[in-house]
């Protein structure tokens, strides 16, 4: 193939092989790199059961992405192996050996035919990829048909938590998105302050939540369960603490999506124990009302950047403060007493509650199932 094969390479195959082995063992350790990198490359793929594994899709969006990943992965591996193989062989064959004189190798300046080959083949590959990619782009952005059931949610990114508004169902909740298995989800993403990005890796690719704009994200989850996600666009000090969860409910049964909707639509549960009543009083008197809604207790009309999550059913959430803490009375008390110690720069004011007050309000909030 190469016209200018030097004399050394034309020796008998056996001596050539032996020569290669010797050289590989002596100074050409560079070639070691290749198996190491390739080994790692393989490790990259099968990585077991990971909570945010983009290659273990649980929604159709993630599935398309994963399909594209494998397509590109296989192609890339082949190209990478070709490049590495050519390099390794060149190093083994065309290095200066001990005892070689100073004469020059053939001074060829190029080879038109070869150069055409390695321009045309990649061009074809790229064109094919482009066509497939364009198909994928339009598939992922296709607006879902109107007649089917759609879980329609407005998502508002806020420093550093998520608000989920189910306009049709009249539910407002935070940080935990509930949807239905096998039902189309249509999210409308926006932001109250800076840019955030909504990302639940196992279910779908991400989309930015941009202030002043609303952009859609469509997907259909096909696996029941709890999926973790996180804000994916740098949004300030606590960007790392802007987690979210997606709960995919079955269509029927006690745990069904419809049951969840009904429970959320109910007004807040009234306090029963003395401590809960005490907590409700703290909530009403200590200024919590200026930022939080509890339906039937305190409702906000004005909303602003620092306006906090709707707490009507806060007790039903599995975590608080955007998946920063597990939801229980101790953690709620800890949060309410000193939010900034839990989450850097959190926009909830430290109202200087005493231990007793925070314990009471935590007990009350936790009872709001």
């Amino acid at each position: 193939m190469f016209r200018n094969t030097p004399v050394a390479a034309q020796a008998s195959p056996l001596t050539t092989l032996r020569g290669w082995a010797q050289r590989a063992a002596s100074s050409r350790t560079l070639t070691l790199l290749v198996p190491v990198v390739m080994g790692l490359l393989l490790a990259a793929c099968g990585d077991g059961n990971h909570p945010r594994d983009t290659l273990n899709p649980a929604g159709d969006g993630a599935q398309v992405s994963a399909w594209f990943f494998w397509l590109y992965m296989i192609l890339d591996t082949v190209i990478f192996i070709i490049v590495c193989a050519a390099m390794v062989v060149a190093i083994m064959k065309f290095s200066k050996k001990k005892g070689d004189d100073d004469s020059l190798p053939p001074q060829s300046h190029g080879n038109m035919k070869l150069e055409l080959i390695w321009t045309v083949i990649p061009t074809i590959i790229v064109l094919v990829l482009a066509v497939i990619t364009v198909g994928g782009v339009f598939q992922l952005s296709a607006k879902p048909a109107e007649e089917q059931k759609i879980v329609d949610v407005e998502v508002i990114g806020k420093q550093w938590w998520w608000e989920f508004d189910y306009k049709n169902e009249r539910i407002t909740t935070a940080n935990e998105l509930h949807v239905e298995e096998g039902t189309q989800v249509s999210l409308h993403l926006t932001s109250a302050d800076v840019i955030h990005a909504f990302w639940v890796p196992r279910v779908s690719g991400k989309r930015d939540a941009t202030p002043g704009r609303t952009y859609p994200l469509y997907f259909k989850p096909f696996e029941k369960g709890e999926f973790i996600g996180q804000c994916a666009e740098l949004c300030g000090a606590s960007h790392a603490r802007m987690g979210l969860k997606m709960f995919v409910h079955p269509k029927t049964g006690p745990d069904s999506y419809d049951n969840w909707v009904k429970a959320q639509q109910a007004a807040a549960r009234a306090p029963t124990t003395a401590l809960e009543k005490e907590g409700k009083k703290v909530f009403e008197t200590k200024g919590c009302k200026s930022c939080h809604t509890i339906k039937g207790v305190a409702e906000l009309t004005q909303r602003s950047r620092t306006t906090g999550p709707d707490l009507t059913h806060v007790g039903s959430r599995s975590t608080i403060a955007a998946v920063t803490l597990e939801n229980n009375v101790e953690n709620l008390a800890k949060w309410v007493k000193d939010p900034q110690s839990v989450k850097e720069a959190a926009l909830m004011t430290n109202l200087g509650l005493s231990d007793k007050e925070s314990k009471a309000v935590a007990t009350y909030l936790y009872s709001l199932k």
């Binding site: 200018n4 030097p6 100074s27 560079l30 790199l33 990198v37 790692l40 990259a44 990585d47 990971h50 909570p51 594994d53 983009t54 290659l55 969006g61 992405s65 594209f68 990943f69 590109y72 490049v83 390099m87 060149a90 190093i91 064959k93 065309f94 290095s95 200066k96 053939p106 001074q107 060829s108 300046h109 190029g110 080879n111 070869l114 150069e115 390695w118 321009t119 790229v126 990619t133 364009v134 782009v137 339009f138 420093q159 990005a197 690719g205 991400k206 989309r207 930015d208 941009t210 202030p211 002043g212 952009y215 996180q230 804000c231 994916a232 740098l234 300030g236 000090a237 790392a240 850097e344």
Partner: protein, 618 residues
């Protein structure tokens, strides 16, 4: 084939007649007033290496924070500040200045010129760059580093959401932009107009070509970000509404302005490294670059197409399917010319007679490492896939393979290769090999597992992560790898210092190389060449040595020429420009008439120093 006919050392030329004032001064004053492209080049290189250490130190600090889950070594704000400053330092203050160092030192030598076209403007560029870099870093002292990420997306950079670090950031970058505009104008004229007789564009070495291409990229891509930064500065200082969402402002405006610069910028970072690799491989394979013309044209093509792909950084921003598809397609096209380069390099190795001193090791390892990074870039170019990878560690892996494995390794190769020309001494090959192997190990240890982290859903720029996310192993590896790279870099710096003082003496042409810069002494005399060489091929020095009838002939009579003298004016002028920016910054600390006083003083200063500059006899 033919053996060596002649030696470069044997080339004798009659003494030239010179009118010049260089070296005008000595010691520190010499460095401040120099207009010699070689000294300015060394200033750029040393500044670049210094900021490489700073950027690396910042990386090591935030890598320590990421080593284990739920770590409390750094808080979120500090972490974001370090990440932002890491990227800003590495991109603008390390790689670009090192590149500028090579361009300054080598381009005039490669083209057989005595200096750049505008030597004083060259000095102005350096001092303005230095001022800009100091302004950016001053943020650490005054109110904290900028922490909105290196692409500073609006509205996070707005006064409402970010501290004064962002003021230092935009003002410093605006200074760098002015500096780089001046430099690009200078180098375009130099390369186009000052080539020695016979050095046609197709005989211009690949490195010279890549330097030319990036000057065009800089001249045309910096203005959009400059405008973006000015609008940002106006928003922050004067309350304009460019990025103010509540008044109708659109955050995408910034994104377009930034990436219209940002994408060509990444080719500004990589093309010089590719040029260096293209110079080194033929020397140590001892044969010409395979398909040199194709390598050059693919570089030009990359530069062109690089302007039409910027929105591939915005696939998740909701531009809509038509824009996504268009930018995906244009982006993928860049794989073709890049592949041409890769394969032509392999073609150069194939059939050669290779030896492996340190520069060759770095140049060879550039090929697979860069390819790996390029191939993951190709993945990003497909929006359905990029929706998952965007802003995840997969992207971090992509760009460190091309930036560290590509740009930085290429520049390392260049330092080892050209060090004898810069200083007259060889760098230690033994230490060089230690540097190479440890760096390569650290590089792969840190950045390879980041592909897996990305696939496992780890977003970038998070200062901490919970244990149950199962990201701890790969992050620990990354931290260890960063420390290894840090150690390797210290070996490199140590090698530079020791070799500069007491390395083995190098002759004119220690590597038996090809291009004009090896014709002259190491380090070159102040006038570069004693006579203007006449160039007959793309490998003039090689052909001088090995090809009958292609010798470079010195004239019988000494030539006559004039070299410009040292000058204080450029530094003074750039001082006033920097003062202007400091005045703007002061305004955020002490609002009031300060701004106008300082602006007036520095404006008059600029005008005065320019007038002094242009009426200076030379």
């Amino acid at each position: 084939m033919s053996a060596k006919l002649l030696d470069i050392e044997s080339l004798q030329a009659p003494e030239p007649h010179m009118h010049f004032e260089r070296p005008g001064k000595t010691g520190l004053v010499d460095w401040l007033t120099t207009v010699d492209h070689k000294k300015i080049g060394i200033l750029y290189l040393l500044s670049g290496v210094f900021y490489l250490l700073c950027g690396g130190l910042e990386a090591i600090l935030f890598r320590i924070q990421l080593a284990v889950p739920d770590n409390t070594f750094l808080g979120g704000e500090t972490f974001n500040g370090l990440v932002t400053m890491h990227a800003t330092s590495m991109v603008f203050l390390a790689i670009m200045p090192m590149t500028a160092g090579f361009a300054n030192f080598l381009v005039p030598l490669m083209i057989g010129a005595r200096d750049v076209a505008f030597p004083r403007l060259n000095s102005w560029s350096y001092w303005t760059f230095l001022g800009g870099s100091l302004v950016i870093n001053a943020s650490f002292v005054f109110g904290g580093a900028p922490s909105a990420g290196w692409f500073g997306y609006a509205p996070l950079t707005g006064a409402q959401y970010s501290g004064s670090g962002v003021d230092f950031w935009w003002a410093g970058l605006a200074l760098l932009s002015a500096s780089s505009l001046a430099a690009s104008v200078n180098f375009i004229v130099t390369i186009l107009n000052l080539r020695a007789p016979g050095l046609t564009l197709l005989r211009l070495p690949v490195l010279g070509w890549m330097m030319l291409v990036i000057q065009f990229l800089l001249a045309l891509s910096f203005p959009p970000i400059t405008v973006g930064l000015i609008l940002l500065g106006f928003d922050r200082m004067f309350g304009t509404l460019f990025y103010e969402v509540s008044m109708g402002g659109d955050p995408h405006l910034w994104q377009h302005l930034f990436w219209l610069f940002g994408h060509p910028e990444v080719y500004v970072l990589i093309l010089p490294a590719m040029g260096i690799v293209s110079e080194i491989l033929p020397v140590f394979a001892r044969r010409p670059l395979f398909g040199q013309t194709a390598v050059i044209f693919s570089g030009i093509f990359i530069g062109f197409v690089g302007f039409g792909v910027w929105a591939h950084h915005m696939f998740t921003s909701g531009m809509g399917p038509v824009a996504d598809a268009a930018f995906a397609a244009t982006t993928a096209i860049i794989a073709i010319p890049t592949g041409v380069k890769i394969f032509n390099w392999l073609g150069t190795l194939w059939g050669g007679k290779m030896t492996y001193p340190t520069p060759m090791l770095f140049a060879v390892s550039f090929i697979p490492i860069f390819t790996l990074g390029g191939l993951s870039g190709l993945m990003h170019a497909s929006p359905p896939l990029d929706l998952q990878q965007h802003d995840s560690y997969f992207v971090v892996a992509h760009f460190h393979y091309v930036l560290v494995g590509g740009a930085l390794q290429g520049l390392f190769a260049g330092v080892y290769f050209y060090f004898p020309k810069f200083t007259g001494r060889m760098m230690s090959d033994k230490l060089g090999k230690v540097h190479f192997w440890t760096f390569l190990a650290g590089l792969n240890l840190t950045f390879f597992p980041q592909h897996m982290l990305g696939n496992n859903g780890m977003p970038r720029r998070i200062y901490t992560y919970p244990a149950d996310a199962q990201w701890d192993l790969y992050n620990m590896l990354g931290t260890v790898g960063a420390l290894i790279m840090g150690a390797a870099t210290l070996v490199f710096v140590y090698n530079m210092i020791v070799s500069w003082r007491s390395g083995e003496k190098a002759g004119r042409d220690p590597w038996d190389a090809c291009t004009l810069e090896w014709l002259t002494e190491s380090p070159p005399k102040v006038q570069n060449f004693d006579f203007t060489p006449i160039v007959l091929s793309e490998r003039p020095v090689w052909d001088h040595k090995y090809t009958e009838g292609m010798e470079i002939v010195a004239p019988a009579k000494g030539e006559h020429f004039h070299m410009p003298s040292y000058s204080w004016k450029p530094m003074i002028c750039s001082g006033f420009v920097i003062l202007l920016v400091i005045g703007l910054l002061m305004n955020t600390f002490m609002p009031g008439n300060w701004l106008w006083v300082i602006s007036a003083v520095s404006g008059l200063g600029v005008v005065g120093s320019v007038y002094a500059w242009v009426s200076e006899p030379v």
